[in-house]
Symmetry: D2
Subunit: 438 residues, 4 copies
């Protein structure tokens, strides 16, 4: 079971290898005469590593003299934020995969024009590296329920959904499919609708909005230390956050069901207060104990979900049109989804967009890289922040995946390890028994 947290079937490693092959070929091209006239100051494609490694966020590589490449400012992103990971999750098959790999915008030339991965002829080799990773991985739960685990673009820094291929396989094999749209409604659900559903043509009949008593209290201002103490006042103070997420799902045309994931320290009064609040909003809601009791612990909730899903499917509503200008797309997300007053595109983002227009990718849909800690772009702003402006500091093309990444606030695409990384508590004994992984 721990394999899913380790190398699993090696998909992430394959994504990392394919992604970094493109980068290595680009820099080798620059080194060997740079026939494509790539501007080392305007590279759009990052190396990746499957590691929380802040030391690699910003670097100057190609140092050490003329034999070692060409000095340039560079960056690594975590593999989950790499463009190849996004491509793996968005692709429809081998042929499409190769086309997407070809249309990766790797850099701009010195005249400001685009340079594509196909010009490096990297697509074939990358597709070979991804040939096994392309196949969805079928696993089963502890109770034997089948599940696909395939693709890992994080919802904060990428589009947050497992692969379209695995969705399609599931939709073709069973009556009811649950799929995950990572990191709450402002990130995962919004991106699922505008990026995944719009491309694939399928749509959800309902959405399970997961919340907890402690999340509400957190948004109500309670500190970590006191989070286990009953506090109805703080619980209620956190409701605006839940209300906002419910509102986002409705805005997107999806019926929400609120799932209250019970923790041992939650009191019955807290659970009841939270469930009742959701019902007051006109939304089905139920607590569940799935983690503790397995399928049985979620039976009541599952019933509610099935009821909702069996009604006539809500028709999706897109917040922005495919042909809205980029700035308008972001503005509509900012005001209709995040609750911002507007958007501030800093100069560097404006300059990025000029290049995107010249490259002909300015009209792609948008994937905002934004903190998952807040509805706003400031991870310290709790509840449902009002009176703020979304700051877009830069734009990167993921034209192979099929969208532009708007970098909001100070969201990093490469996390860092804490002062005491989880790894220090992990061990394996001589018999192969692992501890510390969960």
């Amino acid at each position: 079971m721990e394999d899913i947290n380790l190398h699993f079937t090696g998909d992430i490693h394959a994504v990392t290898a394919a992604n970094n092959l493109i980068a290595a070929m680009m820099d080798a091209h620059i080194f060997h005469g740079n026939e494509l006239d790539i501007d080392p100051g305007h590279v759009n494609f990052a190396r990746c590593m499957d590691m929380n490694d802040r030391q690699l966020r910003a670097l100057v590589d190609g140092l050490g003299g003329p034999k070692n490449g060409v000095p340039r400012q560079d960056e690594f992103v975590i593999s989950a934020a790499s463009e190849v990971m996004a491509i793996l999750a968005m692709t429809e098959g081998v042929k499409d995969l190769k086309e997407r790999l070809r249309r990766i915008l790797i850099a701009f030339n010195r005249k400001g024009g685009p340079v594509w991965a196909k010009q490096l002829r990297a697509d074939g080799a990358c597709a070979i590296l991804l040939k096994d990773a392309l196949m969805p991985n079928l696993v089963q739960t502890l109770e034997g329920t089948p599940a696909f685990v395939h693709g890992g673009p994080f919802g904060n820094i990428a589009h947050g959904h497992n692969s379209i291929l695995s969705d399609r396989l599931a939709l073709g094999s069973t009556d009811v499919v649950f799929t995950e749209a990572g990191f709450a409604s402002d990130l995962g659900a919004e991106k699922f609708v505008h990026l995944v559903c719009r491309q694939s043509g399928y749509a959800p009949n309902a959405a399970v909005l997961v919340t907890t008593v402690r999340a509400m209290k957190h948004h109500g201002g309670v500190k970590e230390k006191a989070i286990k103490e009953e506090n109805l006042k703080a619980l209620k103070a956190g409701f605006p956050n839940l209300d906002a997420h419910v509102g986002i799902l409705k805005t997107l045309g999806i019926t929400p069901i609120v799932a209250v994931n019970r923790f041992v320290a939650d009191t019955q009064r807290e659970i009841d207060t939270l469930v009742e609040h959701a019902q007051d909003l006109g939304v089905r809601a139920a607590p569940h104990r799935g983690y503790a009791d397995g399928g049985k612990g979620g039976a009541e909730l599952a019933q509610l979900v099935l009821e909702a899903a069996n009604r006539a499917p809500a028709s999706l509503r897109f917040v922005y049109k495919a042909d809205d200008p980029f700035e308008e797309k972001v503005a509509k997300l900012a005001t209709s989804i995040y609750g911002a007053d507007g958007v501030d595109f800093v100069n560097s983002a404006k300059e990025d967009m000029k290049l995107m227009e010249k490259a002909g990718v300015a009209d792609l849909p948008v994937c905002v890289a934004k903190t998952q800690m807040s509805l706003s772009d400031d991870d310290r702003a709790l509840g449902a922040p009002k009176g703020w402006t979304l700051k877009i500091r830069g734009v990167r093309a993921s034209s192979g995946a099929g969208y532009l990444v708007a970098l909001a606030g100070e969201m990093m695409r490469m996390p860092g390890l804490g002062a005491e990384p989880a790894a220090v508590h992990m061990d394996i004994d001589e018999k192969g028994v692992i501890k510390g992984l969960f």
Copy 2:
């Protein structure tokens, strides 16, 4: 079959992940207050990537302001040159693996003292990441012969031998074991003897020294373009190189058998001349067509090898003693193996050794990182170069693997892609058929 050239069982990826976890934990430690007082200017441990990526040979990372780590000069090596790969190949089991991981010398502190991986408590998590990679991979040849493929430390930049675990498994399962000691007698064979045999206690009964007509002509001064033309004079001019390798094996106390790997363009006169020259040296020799004809094509050669191996085993002779000072170890290799007049330790290597002494690792055996293109440290020097001095420009500890790496000449531990990387010719079609891999 191409899987061996792709991700195979994922061992290299696991090695890469484990190696880079240690580096990320070290830099996170420096970032979070640096309790161990690690000197960022004296780091001994490199990140790795399984890619020919010269852009990563020398870099400054930790840039971008105080939230992004601490600026320092850094390097990536290819995964085959990483210390964790060497550890995987040298280890005797899980317990030993963890001990080796703990004694990796990651850096020096500001007082010049050693900082070990165990102080980061990285060993448990790394061992978990390596738990499957630790198991030798059993494959079969096209004719059904069983073979282990396990461990990949290149012989030029690392110690060049597959894992001791797989050797032991093979020795316990069959009558005759062929193992590979990467990159000729001056690198692979020497390291196999001094590092692998000395630690493991087993020893070879004979050694197959592979050569080709075109290799001899290359060492005789023929250029790539004319290599397919019969040229007995150049062939003979290349013999000193073969003689030197035969001499090295004898110096190491191993009986050599010369295997002449036939190519289509080789003429019978060339083959005969080469075989006869080897026999004149008093060495068994035979041509073979293993690549073209499979096992059958190597039958005559195999017979010679078995004959040699069935004689009383030669007793290994170590060129240096375990307790020779480091400088003497290198000097003995330089003069007895490489044919150099002596060794020039440049100042940086001398300073490295002062730190190694302070860390208590100065008496480890030595693994020279040296070009495989020449017996000397200059990859343009053909034949059996005389009148030259081995230049050691630096020393890195691989104390987990159990040796010191002496960096000779300008040998890089991170290769680079050529102007037209092999990858541009690779492709996969919609049915999954791969081309261009071989």
Copy 3:
């Protein structure tokens, strides 16, 4: 006469040398054990060069191995933006100079506390290097009028006024003193009032606001190419810029006189229209031809200035109080002087201010580094921009000079050379005749 544009009396070189001595001593201190625990990631003091050299705006120095210093991100500013230049202009004498040098905030230590230049004991040597530069330079105009040329902190990136010492000398020697407050009323005049007058105690009786027909047309939207053509409509369209500057002087409690600096291409109608507009604002105004005709060409204007100055001196009005919090000081400048709606302190500026508070320098007056091309922080915004927010991206202490530098918009403290630097047209012949300097 060209000497003023060349090395003059060497004051700028002396400032550069003194400034860079402090920086070299700081980095040598870090290198030699760093007893003060200076955090290389939080340095507050920059090296300088008297050159437009964008290549030095952002760099990583201390590279090349442990003998060459400690790698850190660093910057050069132009000498006119250096703290020592500001100190030279603000100081009251040798004793005060040394005190100011001592209280330069060079960096923060790893605990976030301040590190001062006095801890490096750099003040004595710096004062020696500045001993001659400290003495105001008395020159004369082509007509023999005495003038002091002393100190050169640019008004956009520094405080924009010549030395207080030279002002005092002039005030003690003559009936009427004209002094320069560099770069328009939003920069030079504002800083003269809040920084120079507030410290020194002296105040101007009137201010000459220099404008030109072509400046008004530029702010009215005319491009460079058409600037010499008569265009009354555009001229009038540019008046809001003049109005704003007049308003700023009145806000500061200073009587403005508008001086219209005539160019050959200006038409009489343009001149008249501009002068009349100024008079309509209730302000004295006159054209002048000082550059073409010398003192005679400015006689009418001079008369107006003397009249104004002989009236009862206007009492200065400070826009912010000395004990206003930093954010309020900047906000008052933004709204009362620049015409902004408010201020956006980006996160890095907020973090800078936390360090300033800890260092006890948060209550110093403020010197905004802002473009001189616009009243706003965007050098492309003409006229009198409305509906914008001042962006402060960072704060640096110039505690020796006695103020905090707020970095507004994208204002750089190190300019760059153009595609065809003025230097390419300069020459000197064998007789020492210089050409191309003007």
Copy 4:
């Protein structure tokens, strides 16, 4: 008097400014489209600063994004090692100055061809900046003897002689001219002969070889602490160093006179032993007390020098011919002057020379940058080292000055400050009295 140690007449500042103008123009050229196709990885020209600042020895500049220049590895040298300083000392006048400035080899283009300063059109502006510095500075000693102080290329890292212009002025104005050839006979005297005399055509009649008792004892192995104690044995042990210097002067065809600079702690026996040793070599020798007693203290010595000079002038002997290949020039210096067995040109030096050949400057005379602490390239090797090989690690063109700089051993062209820089003991009081400068 301290002015000579401070800014003096500003010559060094002018040199610094002119030098850095060329560098700034080069980088601005690269930034603005790089029409000359300058290869940022093959720059031959360094910025300089008149400061011991090791932090600037190796850096990456041009960082901070596409508006801030082009990232490249760069270096600062101390102004005394700058090419413009060398040009100032070698030039014959304004016209020649401009020609030399034009033929500075600033970089190589991407095809390996030379790029000259004249292509940047920087020569006119630089010559203007140097117009006053070009004029020799006439000062007088405490006793009123006239002296020129002009030009400052250090003898270890540059050619070590004051300006040819000042030599010519002196030769035209007086009967006897003493000139200085910085840093002993292996550096200053050798370079004076091969670079200055060969170009200018004048030649010395004799050479004063300055030594001290303590220098001999140092070369005899005495440590700093014990240097003041009488030690005849160590004194004699140091004689081989003196002998070598005497030999070098004779090899160069110059008559040496040994001047023993007396220190207070020297005993008469030590002085006598040293003087007698010199006389045993057949060389005139005398002690002197010039520092303590002024001209009077050196009268005996002066008499010896005049006697020697009045004899028929020795004819200079050049150790290498102007048309010897570069490698041979260096080899002849190594063996005939330094006492080395030979030269080791490391690969980077060989590659530098290929570029120099392509640029047509390979046949210039050579100026070795070598430590002044030893006759060898290792500053710890005392006496007259034997059995060593000169290591040349790189070559830089100073084609404007008229020579190639061969970088020997680990000689740095940018020194660093010590743990307690002399500056910390300097001060100036309110009356302008300086202390701590000497």
